[in-house]
């Protein structure tokens, strides 16, 4: 019967193609939205995977950029049991770079959604303390994929900086060439010498200009006895969640975020985003189901005689119901495959134009979900027309169809 149902679809190619378009577009929408969601998950996951320690910031702020803590907190943390290393940092959004302020940078950006994330940040690091870290992100990224050197004790108080290759490209020299080692970059009203270029591959990290903490305080007008955040490493790599709890208990008003906690929070946030996406997408799916019902109703109404003939040959109501439902399920399957193929092509093309590490992702489970959803839609959409066709009295079906 499956072969017969399949042939019935192919018998009416134009209608089948139109129904396919109607159903595959919502599936394409679903795949597109979830590929964005997956892309963001991958981006954040990739970023977090490069960070092992605990980030200490002020309570109720979203990121170190908006946090202020007393510099003395670092000494308090060093005294806590289980702490291996403590590295204070100053963070802020970069002021004018090469004469371009934040607003101008945003307006001039041609990178679409990438511009939301790629505002350059300044990270002022306590160089001595950071040299004691085992899991510092930027030195490792420079060593693995970058060039030049990372900041050392001789850079303390000097206008030396380490930037990403992305920033080197974004703020190219007047000839349009990416900045090189030894070139200078004008931040605010002062020139800074590039001593190292790193590359993490993460959109969220490749926007950071790393410099000495005192230099950063000067650029960002940060108070001398203040810091933004503290990066803490534990003696026991598996003990970060416990260490976070200990730090928060000992220091009310601070938020100690282990990367596990950040991942969980982000996962929860993306879960909410997915729910919103599903609500939006379900509207499109309803339209798709209505389209299938319409197509199958037209198809079954035209075939009353055929159903009557099948009933006269001993086909039961259940056989007719199965036949029509199979046809619409096949339609759903085809639409799912078409929608998924279009989504794969679309995301491949879109990824060529999206910069900064966001990679629209369609994984096998998303493909499976898209096809399953489409088959379910097809099946649901076919049930009413199938029931209507099956309920026809054979004699009436032949009579109605003959006239």
């Amino acid at each position: 019967m499956g072969v017969f149902a399949w042939r019935n679809l192919l018998t009416r190619p134009l209608r089948t193609v139109l129904a396919l378009i109607g159903l595959s577009v919502p599936i394409l929408g679903v795949m597109g939205l979830f590929s964005v969601s997956n892309g963001l998950r991958d981006l954040v996951g990739e970023t977090l995977s490069q960070i092992e320690g605990v980030m200490i910031i002020r309570e109720n702020v979203p990121s170190p950029v908006f946090s202020t803590l007393p510099a003395s907190l670092a000494d308090d943390l060093r005294r806590l049991p289980g702490v291996r290393a403590v590295a204070p940092e100053v963070w802020g959004i970069a002021p004018n770079i090469e004469g371009r302020g934040m607003l101008v940078r945003g307006l001039l950006s041609k990178k679409g959604m990438g511009s939301v994330f790629d505002q350059p940040l300044i990270s002022g690091q306590d160089i001595a303390a950071h040299m004691n870290l085992n899991s510092a992100v930027f030195p490792r990224a420079l060593k693995e994929k970058g060039e030049g050197r990372f900041l050392t004790l001789e850079d303390i108080g000097k206008p030396n900086i380490v930037i990403s290759r992305k920033l080197a490209r974004d703020f190219a020299d007047p000839q349009g060439n990416p900045r090189k080692l030894g070139d200078s970059l004008r931040i605010a009203d002062k020139n800074y010498t590039i001593v190292g270029l790193y590359e993490t591959g993460s959109l969220l990290l490749d926007v950071v200009i790393v410099m000495d903490i005192e230099t950063a305080r000067s650029v960002l007008n940060f108070a001398k006895d203040s810091i933004s955040s503290i990066y803490v490493e534990a003696k026991n790599p598996g003990g970060y969640d416990a260490l976070s709890a200990t730090i928060e208990k000992a220091n009310p008003g601070v938020d100690a975020r282990s990367m596990n906690e950040v991942k969980a929070n982000f996962g929860s946030l993306m879960g909410q985003v997915d729910k919103l996406l599903m609500m939006t997408v379900s509207l499109a799916l309803i339209v798709g189901i209505v389209g299938i019902i319409n197509t199958m109703l037209m198809s079954t109404t035209e075939r009353f005689v055929e159903f009557g003939v099948l009933r006269t040959n001993g086909w039961s109501e259940a056989n007719i119901l199965t036949l029509v439902t199979l046809e619409s399920a096949f339609l759903g399957l085809l639409a799912g495959i078409v929608g998924c193929v279009l989504a794969l092509i679309g995301t491949t093309i879109a990824n060529q134009f999206i910069s900064g590490g966001v990679h629209l992702g369609i994984n096998p489970s998303l493909l499976g979900m898209g096809i399953s959803l489409s088959v379910i839609m097809g099946t649901l959409g076919g049930l009413y027309p199938a029931w209507r066709a099956a309920r026809l009295v054979p004699m009436e079906a032949i009579r109605i169809g003959s006239h």
Binding site: F4, V309, L310, R311, G314, W315, S316, M395, S402
Partner: protein, 259 residues
């Protein structure tokens, strides 16, 4: 044997009720070649469809080989249609996207087709002269060929009863002759009871049973006629206009109207 006992059938047409059959009675012996004739709207096709359990009478009983079609469950009716009754329609009603062979096998499609059934379908198509058309689709066949496929489809289940509604209605007279030859040959071979609704009396022979329906009742019933003198294709008609192919009351040997 088929027994129709005081069968009534009414149905709604728009805002009014139509009494298609009004207390009809008749009996068709097993293995007969029977015709149901009568003017348009007299209830011929309605009676035929009731014999095939395609619809339920409003009142009365229909017994086929002792089985009461009126009290049969839906599942039993499906089984009855699948195994015991074959249908032949005026418009052939083949499934357009199936080949001739597959059309013959339609009754078995839901349960899967066995090699034996496939071989039998091929043999039947050979018997009706379509051995070189097995893989042809309906649009590749002439009207006569399509009707021969329909005959094979009706016979594949080796039915007790074949019901035909105007089987030559859309065919020219030569093709019609061929179809009746096949039907009679098949009936002779398989000893199947054939009940045919027709307007065309040219194909009725003296040995056939003829039920003349008028206004939802059997107006005339004729059985075997010894000398065949009153039949078309015989020498002359006795008080009938049958030779010109038109329906007309007044022929036959016994009257059981309104029993």
């Amino acid at each position: 044997m088929i027994e129709v006992v005081n069968v009534w059938k009414s149905y709604r047409s728009g805002i009014r009720w139509v009494e298609a059959l009004r207390g009809i009675n008749c009996r068709i012996e097993r293995g007969r070649f029977a015709f149901i004739v009568g003017p348009s709207g007299s209830g011929k096709s309605t009676l035929l469809y009731l014999l095939g359990a395609l619809d339920q009478p409003s009142n009365g009983e229909i017994l086929v080989n002792g089985q009461n079609l009126v009290t049969m469950s839906e599942a039993m009716q499906n089984l009855y249609r699948r195994e015991q009754v074959g249908f032949i329609f005026q418009s052939f009603n083949l499934i357009s996207n199936l080949s001739a062979l597959e059309n013959v096998l339609v009754p078995f499609l839901p349960r899967g087709i066995t090699a034996d059934q496939r071989a039998r379908a091929g043999e039947l198509l050979k018997q009706v002269g379509l051995e070189d058309r097995l893989d042809h689709h309906p649009y590749q066949l002439s009207g006569g060929e399509q009707q021969r496929v329909a005959i094979a489809r009706a016979l594949i289940k080796q039915p007790l009863l074949v019901l035909a509604d105007e089987p030559t209605g859309e065919l020219d007279s030569k093709t019609g002759d061929e179809i009746y030859k096949i039907l009679r040959s098949m009936q002779h071979t398989y000893q199947t009871t054939l009940v045919i609704v027709t307007h065309d009396r040219r194909f009725i022979t003296p040995d056939d049973l003829v039920l003349e329906i008028q206004d939802g009742q059997v107006a005339l019933e004729s059985g075997a006629i010894a000398d065949g003198s009153s039949w078309p294709n015989g020498s002359k008609a006795e008080g009938s206009a049958g030779s010109n192919g038109e329906d007309s009351p007044g022929r036959g040997v016994s009257l059981k109207a309104g029993e």
